[in-house]
């Protein structure tokens, strides 16, 4: 019985889905960025160019991870408010800065560190609010 779930159990589920989303997004974006650098053509309105870019294996892996990330984000939106999901998923920017620093040895300016800190603090603040404030009754229940 889903309605007997404890509040902390539901909260844990929300945060695990969030972490899963952030991991998929980071992996997808990194693969995509790496692959796109190897694609010579400049993208335009022409969809054939995008399809051609996907022949690059890194781009293809990136697209696959980003599609899973999209589905995971939709699951997250079923668990929490949009005004909760948007700030907490912004932690992705923080991860991107760290990945760039650690793996690509990018120089991170003081301004970027400050921005990263603000995003993290804001996300923690929003993460501490109640995740679902609308009273919509779900039409479909989890079959478990």
């Amino acid at each position: 019985m889903k309605n007997l779930n404890t509040r902390s159990g539901a909260l844990l589920k929300t945060y695990s889905v969030l972490v899963f989303f952030l991991a998929l997004k980071a992996a997808g974006n990194s693969a995509m960025a790496w692959g796109m650098k190897q694609v010579p053509e400049r993208m335009s309105i022409n969809p054939a160019l995008y399809l051609h870019a996907m022949l690059n294996p890194f781009v293809a892996m990136g697209v696959a991870a980003l599609i899973l990330a999209l589905l995971t984000r939709m699951a997250l939106l079923s668990l929490a408010d949009l005004s909760f999901v948007l700030p907490v998923t912004a932690v992705g920017y923080v991860i991107a800065v760290f990945l760039g620093k650690v793996f690509l040895h990018e120089a991170v300016s003081r301004q970027r560190w400050l921005g990263t800190l603000l995003i993290f603090a804001g996300a923690v603040l929003v993460g501490s609010t109640s995740r679902n404030t609308t009273t919509t009754t779900p039409l479909a229940e989890d079959p478990k």
């Binding site: 309105i45 999209l70 589905l71 408010d81 603040l125 404030t133």
Partner: protein, 119 residues
């Protein structure tokens, strides 16, 4: 041209997220196991507004890709954060979410951070 791309990107992001948030709340809580994903795909197939929301995501994604090909990320990222402001306001007034002081303050800090990281 770059402002047209920004407008298309922001509007598509806002529309896509509002549609998805609205529809996913109605669909009930989902999980991310293999079975969960299968069930989620089933939910998407049954809901036209959800498919429209995903289509908006695609439009937003391709406009962002086109934008970063001609403009630096330091322009594209802060420009895309305009959707963050619009969406948070619409979440309150259209989706009737309760923002509260703590969530509003956190959202503002995140917004400032995104602009600093991009700029």
């Amino acid at each position: 041209m770059k402002w047209v791309l920004v407008a298309v990107m922001v509007l598509a992001t806002v529309a896509g997220d509002l549609l998805q948030s609205h529809e996913m709340k109605r669909a009930g809580e989902q999980s991310v196991s293999a079975r969960g994903f299968a069930r989620l795909l089933h939910v998407i197939a049954q809901r036209r507004l959800l498919i429209l929301g995903v289509a908006c995501n695609a439009v937003s994604f391709f406009s962002f890709m086109a934008l970063v090909q001609t403009e630096p990320l330091s322009f594209a990222v802060p420009a895309s954060s305009a959707s963050f402001v619009l969406e948070t306001l619409l979440a309150k007034f259209v989706l009737h979410e309760r923002l509260g002081a703590r969530r509003a303050a956190g959202a503002l800090a995140v917004l400032a951070g995104v602009v600093l990281v991009g700029g």
